[in-house]
Symmetry: C2
Subunit: 220 residues, 2 copies
């Protein structure tokens, strides 16, 4: 396993409060495998069995849902040192209900989920910590989903935008910030029409509510 991934894994919540020096041997124990993906390439596809958890090393992936009628929604974006797929594996879902694909060229670390929650042997002291960390990660995701719901429950496109943008400002600690989505992606994330959203953004800029150039926004 390359050494350049260790600094990333130290940031990963799965390895929280674990000695960085212990990580390499844990990766062995977990049979972790690194894989590279091109932009747009599928990491997990809907309908398939889910046995692995992914950790983004570089790049970013999107978790998307496609409903009956082919409407696509971006559920979450996952960036470096973050996990994806853990909820579905842990809940024992047999068929994955979502697609995961690389939003840009990405390196992903894949870990068999069962190796995380089942002790490899009673002598391995790491698993207790791993499970505790997994508990925290799942709870955090839960809270994040609840927060996303706050934007989705807004009735108008404008209110959805404001809810999303003000959360981004809060999360990045500044009224100036960059968003990790293109316009189409943002529309898919907020479940609104792209052109209507674009026009609403222009209106809001004219009204002096905010400013933007490309992906850089500032709230006023």
């Amino acid at each position: 396993m390359d050494n350049h991934i260790l600094p990333i894994l130290r940031q990963c919540p799965l390895f929280r409060q674990i000695e960085p020096g212990d990580i390499p041997s844990m990766l062995q124990c977990l049979s972790a495998v690194k894989k590279g993906y091109r932009k747009g390439e599928t990491v997990f596809s809907a309908g398939s069995a889910i046995t692995h958890v992914g950790i983004v090393l570089t790049g970013r992936v999107h978790v998307e849902q496609n409903d009956y009628w082919g409407n696509r929604t971006i559920l979450t974006q996952v960036g470096p040192a973050e996990l994806f797929g853990e909820a579905f594996s842990c809940a024992g879902i047999e068929k994955l209900p979502v697609n995961v694909y690389a939003a840009e060229p990405s390196e992903i670390l894949l870990i068999d989920y069962r190796k995380i929650i089942r002790s490899c042997s009673s002598a391995c002291p790491f698993h207790a910590k791993l499970i505790q960390n997994m508990l925290w990660i799942l709870a955090q995701k839960n809270v994040a989903l609840t927060q996303k719901m706050e934007t989705l429950t807004q009735r108008t496109t404008r209110d959805k935008l404001l809810a999303y943008l003000s959360r981004q400002a809060q999360a990045q600690g500044s009224s100036q910030f960059e968003i990790p989505f293109s316009r189409q992606e943002l529309a898919d994330y907020l479940s609104v029409d792209r052109s209507a959203m674009s026009s609403e953004l222009s209106k809001m800029q004219k009204e002096g509510l905010l400013q933007f150039q490309k992906n850089r926004f500032s709230l006023l």
Copy 2:
């Protein structure tokens, strides 16, 4: 602790794969407390510190979110043997971002969250199982939130209704089923206008898509 609650707790996912006979002593160990609530009474209120997890014994509670502008949204309904509040306690959220109130007269079992995840002593063999169960519960909630998102991302009221109703039918294993919401509650759950929703339901009935009387629906 009354005996009539034991059959309920046996169904509770927190005590999954735990000998029913062991539950009473575990409740002692967890310092579980039973409380009664009248209809509409607050169980947890937004802004307060969250230290306890709730288990519904009888009745049902609603978890609701109130945004800046006073719009109310019902995030989830929690029925007998189900937990609530576990994500926020586990994620270490200091101030609760939601309200929890009894939707009807309810009995709730309150458990200090820290007693669940921290071993009372290394001799207590139950905690490992409790933590495993908590992992599963959090993952399940995650999946449930993802599913709810599928209804919220529908653009039209009709599609939201169809997404919700067909999931209910699926969950209850029959095209005839009862929903646990009044019209106003359902509208708050789906984030739509009540009167528009009511009128849409009537239209759908006229078109032969479904039938309903009070809370009993059947999809056709």
